[in-house]
């Protein structure tokens, strides 16, 4: 039922909008919110409360309180009082067993009061311990508010827009609009953000945006929630005009359905032409509450009494209900029947955004509200948010301490009563921060908007002190709750693919993740692929290697300082293996370094370490200020490794280089055209057979790859994946940084002492490595062969005297060797060739023998010939 047309009504009576409430068909009008449409259909109970399952109805009508939260189209906790109605909306109330009108859990209200005082769960169910999980299961079954579709997926597309504003005004209140107008044309780009229901103001030179400011973060970042778009504003100046929030009064029954704040009356009558009740009582500590009287009369609501608490002292207010709805109110014993009770405890400036920005928040005893001070530069507060026009409340009148019958709620989100707060104080939770955590006041969906001020007033009163010395809790973002989906944006994470990726797929590769890269695990037969490298010719895509160009007059000096190796004495065209160490002497990364010219080095890194190494290089370059430039060419260049006895024959077909062993020896680097593509060819051998690593521009990836497989077909050229590569490198005992080493490994204990040239003047980590030499080894990285051919798990434990004494870092079955082999860390006394170690495999202990030299081709003859 609607009132006759009201002067400023926002509904379009011609445009009926059908929707459903618990499956029943109902209707509202264009201009309605979901809550107002339901009110028009006679609905008064909107939800059941968190703990006591009390009936709750519209209270603030401003999107602040939890009372109107419902499940809409499967989305839980929608504040329906500020959510515009849409056709076909499926609306359901939340948090009840049975039905909204007959909630079986109201039992907790009937018996709960005296039996479940604040913090009762800390004092019960302690013994026996076994009982607690059962009790917890019950608690969990009744906890929470709205339901999430358990197996639902993502349904919406969210976007983010990065925007800039010279002035960003939050809130289209009168003061906000005025600020925007003043700034327009004078301060560059002016943006006005507002989350209200009214049309945005049309101001010249001001861009108006519908949305909710989430917070004010460092650097003027103000993210704005605009539904499915997140506007990330960087603002030169932020003007907070977020208004003020009406505060409830504390009295028994203050949560009954029909007890409302003034704004609810304003909106119900003025906006939606709804009569809030038949007979009303108004109890107000400010002018705002009293102003509803004329509105109520205009709506045909009889106003039984309007009390101005500033002038009339009322010792005892108590609302009495029937079926959860207000039926009467007693003012100092005088009983007035009513179905509507308008209460107003004054307004509290909405300071949260200012507090996020770093302003201090202090209680103003004269005005009975919290005000901000020391607002940081670049942020301003105007209007009610700054306290302007917020009429002085009569704080002493907002709570009279009378407890009487019935519950008096301080926090309606969490169902915390005045008794709970008093009890907390009596128990010694005498700081507001402690009390907040004990009672959970301000920790519910309203985040203190309606309970912060009343709870602190109550606190001051009970502690017999003033509000100012009670202090305040910290306001934390977001200002209004914000959807995870909006924050997350569209569901994509970075992923990297090499330029040969599609060929791998065509060749039937099983793909796997390594860092952000997708790489071929194998092409179906890891053992066979490894064997083919030993017997004929394999080709692997190693484009994922990090690739850095280090160039300049100080390039040699730069690398000399960074690596424990020596690079200054390298001849042009030669390559060295390098292990990068941290300043604590720990292994960070490894790779090859080729000297391409006097002042020009080409550095490769591990696939996953590229980013960290680049950062490390740049960090030290900034520290040392050497004359050297660093370029990351990881993505620009593809790389392919060909390895096996026929690799030389293949290279002779693909290039016009003299590839004889004398002309192109092991660890040579040469520029050449490979299959017509300008390339850098490195003769190195991670997998233990004669090999060439070809680096060339990425766009030619598939061409070079195809050429190798075509021209090498008669040589037995076949691709191999990462898994066979791992078998092959393990046969050679070549380490994988991060797998065979951890954050504490150094080159000495990792059995690569020849890397560290301790006679060099200095290098990063030298001091720490000297300490390692002094103290002696505590563990050592070694190879091992299993006695019975069982492959232990990677990460498995080497057992010494029944305790973890070392660990397996790599292990594989080598078809070529006919052995189960591995690498791992052992105590130094076991780091001897042939020493027996015990490895835990599936609960039993398997024997293995330590090997200090590579399992395959220990002298590297295959690589050199």
């Amino acid at each position: 039922m609607r009132l006759p047309p009201q002067p400023d009504e926002r509904i379009d009576r011609e445009a009926a909008i059908p929707f459903t409430f618990h499956g029943s068909r109902v209707t509202g009008f264009a201009g309605d919110t979901i809550a107002s449409a339901l009110f028009g259909e006679g609905q008064r109970v909107y939800s059941r409360s968190f703990k006591y399952h009390r009936a709750r109805g519209l209270l603030c009508c401003s999107g602040n309180c939890p009372n109107c939260m419902m499940r809409v189209d499967g989305v839980p906790n929608v504040r329906t009082c500020v959510t515009p109605l849409h056709e076909g909306a499926k609306v359901e109330a939340q948090n009840f067993w049975g039905s909204l009108d007959h909630d079986l859990l109201t039992l907790t209200d009937k018996v709960g009061g005296p039996f479940t005082p604040v913090g009762f769960y800390y004092r019960t169910m302690i013994r026996p311990r076994r009982a607690w999980p059962l009790y917890e299961r019950f608690l969990r079954s009744v906890a929470g508010l709205g339901k999430v579709e358990k197996h639902g997926g993502r349904t919406r597309r969210y976007d983010v827009e990065h925007r800039r504003a010279d002035v960003l005004v939050v809130g289209a209140s009168e003061a906000g609009v005025e600020s925007a107008r003043e700034a327009a044309g004078r301060e560059g780009r002016v943006v006005l953000v507002d989350n209200g229901l009214d049309p945005l103001p049309d101001l010249e030179g001001v861009e108006a945006v519908r949305g909710t400011a989430i917070g004010v973060y460092e650097g003027g970042l103000v993210p704005v929630d605009a539904g499915t778009v997140l506007h990330r504003y960087r603002a030169g100046r932020v003007v907070v005009a977020a208004g003020a929030i009406e505060q409830p009064l504390l009295f028994p029954g203050n949560d009954l359905v029909g007890v409302v704040l003034p704004e609810a009356v304003r909106r119900l009558v003025g906006r939606w032409s709804l009569r809030p009740g038949a007979r009303a009582v108004v109890v107000s500590a400010d002018q705002r509450g009293l102003e509803t009287v004329s509105l109520l009369e205009q709506a045909g609501t009889e106003v039984a009494e309007a009390v101005d608490l500033r002038t009339t002292r009322v010792r005892e207010i108590a609302a009495r209900g029937r079926g959860g709805r207000v039926a009467s109110v007693e003012l100092d014993g005088k009983k007035l029947d009513c179905d509507l009770l308008v209460m107003s405890g004054g307004r509290q400036p909405a300071y949260a955004l200012l507090a996020h920005a770093g302003a201090s928040v202090e209680y103003d005893p004269g005005r009975g509200i919290f005000l901000t001070s020391a607002i940081p530069q670049g942020v301003d507060a105007v209007g009610a948010a700054a306290g302007d026009g917020v009429a002085a409340a009569a704080p002493s009148a907002t709570y009279n301490g009378a407890s009487g019958k019935g519950k008096c709620f301080v926090c309606i989100c969490e169902d915390v009563t005045d008794k709970d707060v008093k009890r907390a104080i009596a128990e010694g939770f005498d700081s507001i921060e402690l009390a907040k955590r004990y009672t959970t006041v301000t920790m519910g969906p309203c985040q203190g908007k309606l309970c912060h001020l009343p709870s602190i007033r109550l606190y001051a009163r009970e502690n017999e002190t003033d509000e100012a010395s009670i202090g305040t809790t910290t306001a934390r973002p977001p200002w209004q709750p914000v959807e995870l989906g909006l924050l997350a944006g569209r569901p994509h994470e970075p992923a990297q693919r090499t330029s040969i990726h599609h060929r791998h797929k065509e060749l039937g590769a099983k793909m796997m993740w390594t860092g952000t890269w997708r790489r071929p695990h194998s092409y179906g037969d890891p053992s066979g692929e490894a064997k083919n490298v030993h017997d004929a010719l394999g080709v692997i895509d190693v484009s994922t290697l990090g690739k850095l160009v280090v160039r300049g007059p100080d390039a040699a000096a730069f690398l000399e300082r960074l690596y424990p190796n020596r690079f200054g004495d390298m001849k042009t065209g030669r390559i060295r293996y390098g292990v990068l160490g941290s300043d604590a002497g720990r292994i960070m990364d490894d790779g090859t370094i080729a000297r391409l010219a006097e002042e020009d080095y080409y550095v490769t890194t591990t696939s996953t370490g590229a980013g960290a190494v680049l950062e490390w290089f740049e960090w030290w370059n900034a520290v040392w200020g050497l004359d050297v430039g660093i370029a990351n060419v990881t993505g620009a260049l593809a790389a392919v490794n060909v390895a096996g006895p026929h690799a030389r024959e293949l290279m002779s077909r693909l290039t016009d280089l003299d590839v004889s062993n004398d002309a192109f020896t092991y660890l040579d680097a040469k520029h050449a055209h490979v299959a017509g593509v300008p390339s850098l060819v490195l003769r190195i051998g991670f997998v233990g057979e004669l090999g060439y690593e070809i680096h060339f521009p990425s766009p030619y990836g598939e061409h070079v790859w195809n050429s190798i497989l075509e021209r090498g077909a008669d040589l037995g050229a076949l691709p191999f994946g990462l898994e066979p590569q791992r078998i092959l490198r393990l046969e050679k005992m070549h380490i994988l940084v991060g797998q065979d080493t951890d954050s504490e490994s150094n080159v000495f204990e990792a059995s690569m002492p020849w890397i560290a040239k301790m006679d060099k003047d200095d290098f990063v980590g030298k001091w720490s490595l000297e300490r390692v030499q002094e103290r002696g080894f505590r563990e050592q990285l070694v190879g091992f062969e299993m006695a019975n051919g069982v492959v232990p798990p990677e990460g498995g434990q080497i057992v010494v005297d029944g305790r973890p004494g070392g660990r397996v870092t790599s292990s594989r079955w080598s078809q070529h060797l006919g052995k189960a082999i591995g690498m791992g860390w052992v105590p130094p006394e076991l780091a001897e060739d042939g020493a027996e170690i015990a490895i835990k495999v599936d609960g039993s202990v398997e024997r293995a023998h330590v090997r200090l030299r590579p399992f395959f081709d220990p002298d590297g003859e295959h690589l050199r010939t």
């Binding site: 800390y122 019960t124 508010l145």
Partner: protein
């Protein structure tokens, strides 16, 4: 049962600060309060003052994501935390305060073969030390957490997990209050809003502290100040290899509980649990920069939300209610620094990074023993400050950095 209804003070109101105590504990968080509690209970040392610059539990103890577990990587770490979990299991009864310890189990997801190796290593170490911990495959994960997105066509498909059944969540504030009440009942004095501003020394020994409420003489000072450790140690002239970073977390609005296991993804730097109130409690990794600012960042909300939805896309429309930060004291090897320093009578509990709260009971018992006997208990010997001079580090990077 009648205790439920009787209003009893948890602790005495703050009294006058006396001019001398046997032991002064700096920091009224979980470590400081636990140490005081066990000093009194296990060793009869009750002339103890806890000096807290704010309210009790105002730092890391009240800001962490409440996860308790023992599935560490190094034998030293795993043994230490095994004892801690054991103590936590009996702590509610010991303190006669229900800490709402919910041992719902803890899953550390592996999204790569490297991740699986780490999980295996932790499981193997744990099993040797008698800790319930094992590697599980996608099928068992689906049984433990049917609501998680285990499809393979996502950015980070789940390949397996380290499953640790005794892992759980606890009411962190209750731990603080329980210890505070227990310590107070044994006669320990708790002094909130009392900041230590100086540490007096003479001949290489501690002789007292200066506070905002006047000087106090003592020859034993225990600093348990987490993010502020280096500042307090500076007062004692003890350099610490600690950097202070922020760690952030957020909760959502309460929704009906359906997630009954803690889910951690180190790869995605996110850990997710659902509280007994129905809120999803979500945290991330430590921020890489050092700061004492407790301001949260928006980018944290963005990346954490993104990663959360990778695992639980059904939470798309669930709303973030509140974000906060805490200070973390990070050591170079991600293991704590515990016990004696070069200054006689100045003990520290620091280097806790993101995993200090889990250790409160065991820190309390071992530090109390150290104070009482002067001998460093075996369990904490590997975590001595001295290890940075002898280079005997305990690398927990793999298990501690982001694995709550």
């Amino acid at each position: 049962m009648k205790d439920v209804f009787r209003v009893r003070r948890m602790w005495r109101p703050r009294g006058e600060l006396r001019d001398r105590y046997d032991v002064v504990i700096v920091g009224g968080g979980s470590h400081g309060l636990a140490t005081a509690y066990y000093l009194a209970k296990n060793h009869g040392i009750t002339d103890v003052a806890i000096l807290e610059k704010s309210y009790i539990g105002s730092g890391a103890a009240g800001r962490n994501t409440t996860i308790i577990r023992a599935n560490y990587r190094t034998p030293e770490g795993a043994e230490f935390y095994r004892q801690s979990v054991k103590l936590y299991e009996g702590l509610g009864a010991d303190l006669d305060f229900n800490l709402l310890f919910s041992q719902q189990g803890h899953l550390t997801l592996a999204h790569s073969d490297r991740g699986l190796i780490t999980a295996t290593e932790r499981a193997e170490v744990n099993q040797l030390l008698g800790i319930d911990s094992r590697v599980v495959g996608p099928e068992e994960i689906a049984r433990l957490c049917p609501e998680m997105d285990l499809s393979q066509d996502v950015t980070w498909p789940v390949m397996g997990a380290l499953y640790h059944p005794p892992g759980g969540i606890i009411r962190h504030d209750a731990v603080v209050w329980g210890y505070a009440r227990g310590a107070d009942r044994h006669g320990v004095e708790i002094h909130p809003y009392t900041e230590v501003t100086g540490i007096e020394r003479s001949n290489g020994r501690v002789t007292g502290v200066q506070t905002t409420r006047g000087p106090v003489r003592t020859d034993m000072v225990v600093s348990a100040t987490a993010g502020w450790s280096t500042l307090v140690a500076d007062l004692a002239g003890v350099p610490l290899p600690i950097t202070t970073h922020i760690l952030q977390a957020f909760v959502t609005e309460p929704v009906k509980p359906f997630l009954d296991v803690i889910v951690v993804s180190s790869q995605m730097h996110v850990y997710i649990s659902q509280t007994d109130r129905g809120e999803f409690l979500i945290g991330a990794e430590i921020e890489p920069y050092t700061t004492y600012s407790s301001k949260g960042t928006f980018s944290f909300l963005e990346y954490s939300a993104r990663h959360t939805l990778e695992l639980f896309p059904q939470l798309e429309r669930v709303k973030v209610l509140r974000q906060w930060t805490g200070l973390c004291d990070l050591s170079p090897d991600y293991s704590p620094i515990l016990g004696k320093t070069e200054l006689d009578g100045f003990l520290v509990s620091t280097g806790w990074g993101t995993y200090g709260f889990k250790a409160a009971p065991i820190v309390g018992t071992t530090l109390a023993e150290l104070v009482a006997t002067g001998e460093t208990p075996r369990l904490i010997a590997p975590f001595a400050l001295e290890r940075f001079y002898t280079d005997t580090l305990v690398s927990e990077l793999a298990a501690a950095a982001v694995s709550h």
